[in-house]
């Protein structure tokens, strides 16, 4: 299957279910199967401080905060629960529009900037 066709097939599956934005580096499994790219700020590491008291979005008051949903769903998932605490690297904008499935297989979705890789997280 050509890369373009694979991306279209992936979008056809993921857009109706998760509102997939085709970032090309899917992290759904670590965010309670909630796409963080549907957050208006496209945050990859948890909710901002602007979440309303009713759990709705600072930017779109009619929408529940994506990360409130991600937290609730990740707590209910039998697997990947602790993944919500993973520190996700910056989005690689060069992968936008790619098939994340293809990038998963090739490992391109896990390539992070060399400086980021050279700086380990602080141990708890």
């Amino acid at each position: 299957m050509s890369p373009g066709l694979l991306a279209r097939a992936e979008h056809a599956v993921k857009a109706p279910v998760w509102g997939c934005q085709m970032c090309g580096q899917c992290v759904l499994h670590s965010t309670g199967l909630t796409c963080p790219m549907t957050c208006p700020k496209q945050l990859r590491n948890g909710p901002c401080g602007g979440v309303r008291a009713n759990g709705h979005c600072e930017v779109k008051p009619e929408m529940r905060c994506v990360w409130v949903k991600a937290y609730e769903r990740s707590e209910r998932l039998p697997v990947w629960r602790g993944h919500l605490d993973h520190l996700h690297p910056p989005v690689n904008h060069a992968l936008e529009g790619d098939s994340a499935w293809s990038n998963l297989v090739s490992g391109r979705d896990r390539q992070t900037p060399a400086g980021w890789m050279a700086s380990p997280d602080v141990a708890a």
Partner: protein
């Protein structure tokens, strides 16, 4: 090592405060804003287009604060800059001797007076903390060497009263893992939520690893309180506070009393490392509140600038 880093390393109680936004007036304006409170404050936050309103840049104000002889905490938000601009501002800050940085995601552009702006958010707040750590390690994000490596004392913010409440301490822990050494907490008018946050942080050992600094705001009118209640993202003000100010004979006095009560409550929490003050009054509200709380001005402290510890849990 900055004064703030040193005091927190010695587990001395710290006082930080927000410099009111600067638009014009040069160095004189910075000196004028500092004058009523500088005696009580260890480090001053230079804000970064707060509530998505444009003002003088945090780097420029931080340089001005250094010239005024006080220590800056340069706030940096992800809303207006991509990673290249964030890196250059951090390296630029280091060039001018600014070490304390406070890394924020930032209010959305829709919170401000230019909502038609493009929102950037190339990085998020947690990634920005890690970026400061990467630079501190002597590299740009790409891996290109940065020699000699600058030193940053990086911090961030967290909001104890925004959902998902059960997750907020875990998010704070994530910021510690990214390299944050202090967290200035968002204003919290729901005291039970601050208690819950501080207790969980204490029980999980987080407050031993990262300095937690609750924020206190001194308002001066019922309109100001209604504005905070309705227009500042992520702040939940119980109606009882608004009613108190609305019914008070002197609204400004009542606002001060509320700030005093909240500050006293915050100082009594386990693991509190200091307080962060924001004042919307034109007078010396922060100095007055510090005196009432028993916080001494720096020239009266036991050793120069080294205030004895207060209420460390």
């Amino acid at each position: 090592m900055s004064l703030l880093e040193g005091k927190l390393a010695r587990r001395e109680f710290v006082v930080t405060a927000e410099v009111p936004v600067i638009d014009a007036g040069g160095q004189d304006e910075i000196e004028r804003q500092l004058a009523p409170m500088r005696e009580y404050v260890d480090a001053f936050n230079a804000t970064d287009n707060p509530s998505a309103h444009a003002h003088c840049s945090p780097l420029a104000v931080s340089i001005g604060l250094r010239q005024a002889g006080v220590e800056p905490i340069m706030q940096l938000a992800c809303r207006d800059r991509n990673r290249l601009a964030l890196e250059s501002d951090l390296v630029g800050a280091a060039m001018h001797g600014i070490e304390n940085v406070c890394c924020l995601t930032g209010d959305d552009v829709t919170a401000g007076d230019e909502p038609e702006s493009k929102r950037v958010f190339d990085l998020d707040g947690v990634q920005l903390i890690k970026l400061a750590r990467v630079l501190d390690g002597g590299r740009y994000l790409s891996g290109r060497p940065l020699t000699p490596a600058p030193h940053f004392f990086a911090g961030a913010v967290e909001n104890p009263s925004a959902p998902p409440l059960e997750y907020r301490v875990r998010r704070a822990a994530k910021k510690a893992a990214a390299g944050a050494r202090f967290l200035q907490l968002q204003l919290c008018y729901r005291t039970e939520l601050l208690e819950r946050f501080m207790m969980t942080a204490h029980d999980t050992g987080l407050s031993a690893r990262i300095a937690l600094i609750p924020s206190i705001c001194i308002l001066r009118s019922v309109d100001g309180m209604r504005f905070v209640a309705s227009s500042v993202p992520g702040i939940d003000v119980p109606p009882s506070y608004v009613d108190r100010v609305a019914q008070a004979a002197d609204a400004e006095d009542e606002c001060f009393e509320i700030a005093y009560e909240l500050a006293t409550h915050a100082m009594a929490q386990p693991g509190v490392a200091g307080l962060h003050f924001i004042s919307f009054r034109r007078d010396a509200g922060i100095a007055k509140l510090c005196r009432r709380l028993g916080i001494k001005p720096q020239h009266e402290s036991e050793s120069h600038g080294h205030r004895p510890s207060v209420a460390l849990g």
